[in-house]
């Protein structure tokens, strides 16, 4: 009854369903420019670009995330929209995006004015981050500052950054607790609600979870450093743990395998789609075969039967 349905390629739409903070559309009096979507270097992945939104006058930075699950579409007014995504535009601390540039410049060890640091051939729009209200004022969280005349100079500071990130983690923990988010390893469902709150034992779980969340916004190196700074031991995921070798090494000489099994590991041995069975074949396959002889049994040599 079910026929194969072909997936037509996604065509670009010119409409999106967006949930945004009120502040995105509240236009400040003074201003000039409309809120704009811009692509900027993602601080955690480094090279990849992600989508952000700058509020009008570039005053506030927002990140854009999409709720995206298979088999969803929208009915909007009298139309259907194939793209079933729900975009969230949420406020973001611009310092996270400035940080990679400061770190890069910090390697030279010099104090530099921040507008010299914020240069990026690939993403020239990154200079606009500097006009966000929180940018200039919060640079001292991650950098040492010097003022010569009216010009400010900055130099990246790892210690300050760690303290700043630690605060972020602790704030996140507070929010996680308040929003009743299950952080334990055993819990996989977001809808699972804990009846009892085991506060003390969960402290580390919360810290780790919050650290993971913050790590979405910083580079991997920083994430590792932060883990140390929080005095959390690094977890090795169970996947990486190799099972203990069953063969004992008898000599120091490199062992050579007696048989080469790797040839079975080639592509033709990989998962093949199961063959389609007709309805009749399916019902046949379900038949209880206990006590039935296989067809080939009738063709085996008679020797055994005669011996009896």
């Amino acid at each position: 009854m079910t026929t194969k349905k072909k997936r037509t390629p996604h065509s670009q739409n010119d409409r999106w369903v967006v949930v945004a903070a009120d502040s995105v559309v509240e236009t400040p009096k003074k201003d000039d420019s409309d809120p704009t979507f811009i692509r900027l270097r993602n601080p955690s992945t480094g090279n990849a670009a992600s989508l952000y939104l700058l509020g009008s006058g570039d005053v506030q930075l927002y990140e854009v995330k999409a709720f995206n699950e298979d088999f969803h579409s929208w009915f909007i007014g009298q139309t259907v929209q194939r793209d079933g995504r729900l975009l969230y535009v949420t406020p973001m601390d611009p310092l996270f995006l400035l940080l990679p540039y400061l770190i890069k410049a910090g390697k030279e060890g010099k104090f530099q004015p921040v507008d010299q640091v914020m240069m990026d051939e690939d993403f020239p729009a990154c200079t606009r981050l500097l006009s966000c209200i929180r940018s200039q004022a919060s640079l001292h969280h991650v950098a040492e500052e010097k003022e010569v005349g009216s010009v400010k100079f900055q130099r990246y500071s790892q210690e300050r950054t760690m303290e700043w990130l630690k605060k972020k983690v602790h704030r996140t923990v507070k929010i996680l607790r308040k929003s009743n988010i299950s952080v334990g390893e055993g819990v996989k469902s977001t809808t699972y609600v804990r009846v009892k709150q085991e506060s003390e034992t969960q402290e580390e779980d919360y810290l780790r979870y919050a650290h993971g969340l913050i790590s979405e916004y910083i580079s991997e190196d920083l994430s590792k450093a932060l883990l140390k700074h929080l005095q959390l031991p690094e977890l090795s995921s169970p996947k990486e743990v190799e099972p203990p070798s069953k063969k004992r090494k008898l000599t120091d000489k490199p062992l050579e395998a007696g048989e080469d099994y790797t040839k079975f590991n080639s592509s033709d041995f990989s998962r093949k789609p199961p063959k389609k069975m007709s309805a009749a074949q399916k019902t046949l396959a379900k038949v209880d075969k206990t006590g039935m002889k296989s067809m080939s049994a009738f063709f085996s040599p008679k020797g055994k039967a005669e011996k009896k």
Binding site: M1, F37, L51, K65, G212, N265, S270
Partner: protein, 309 residues
Amino acid sequence: MDLSEFEADNSVSCRLASAIPDVCKTEDCCLGIDEAGRGPVLGPMVYGICFCPVAKKEDLKDLKVADSKTLTEAQREDLFRKLDEAKSFVGWALQVLSPNTISTSMLQRSKYNLNALSHDAAIGLVQFALDSGVQLKEVFVDTVGPAEKYQEKLSQRFPGVEVTVRPKADSLFPIVSAASICAKVARDHSVKDWNFPEDLGEVDADYGSGYPNDPKTKAWLLKELDPVFGYPQFVRFSWSTTQTLLDSKAVTVHWDDDEEDGEKAAARQNNTSMLSYFKAGSKTSAQQSNTHQTHRFFTERRLQSLATL
């Protein structure tokens, strides 16, 4: 026949019944079951029961009820009127299964097929008669599917009632013929002036018999197809006639329980091939460190960063 109760909301199943004759509550009764509108792609399927005291079986014959298929529409109307007039000893009840009920039952996640639907409608009606105080002793049914299995199912469900399931029962037993007339008349009425709950403007009412091989029905189905919604609730979506038309003419819709086979489906379900566990360890760990793993806060909530709009 008063179908207003069904017409008030023709998206759901509805039960219509005559008053229960007093003799049926005191004397041993026989009951016939038959259905109308099993095959058509349009309109409801109607299940009907008719019952009367066993002693009055002969009176039914005098009414000259016969298999509804051998009668013209006018004759059926006439006979139904006579049956309704014989309310001193004949009672009837109908279960109108709307096309929407049929579609949603057959196409839901755990499939509920037409035979099961039919059987349950029949059982429901017999139970209704019992609950109304009818002294049932004999039940005659035209078969749906294998007669023996069906008979066994009904006998088990109603111990103490003698159940006879027979193909062509509608021409063998007058009480089944009577039930078939009730069912057929109800179906004809409901299809004739189908009340489209959808806001469709002027709908062409010339849809013929509703059977898939009727050229008028075919032409109507081709004309009324909406690329997004398909059809009004009048059409049984679970019929292959409908599905073929939808597949070829309407926009493709994907559901998460669509059957998909093989590697692609496995990937969709996030299954890992058994073989991947035997691959050299270095490869998988290298892959892991290359690809940035999004934190589970986001993956659990199906949230992802965007590169472009």
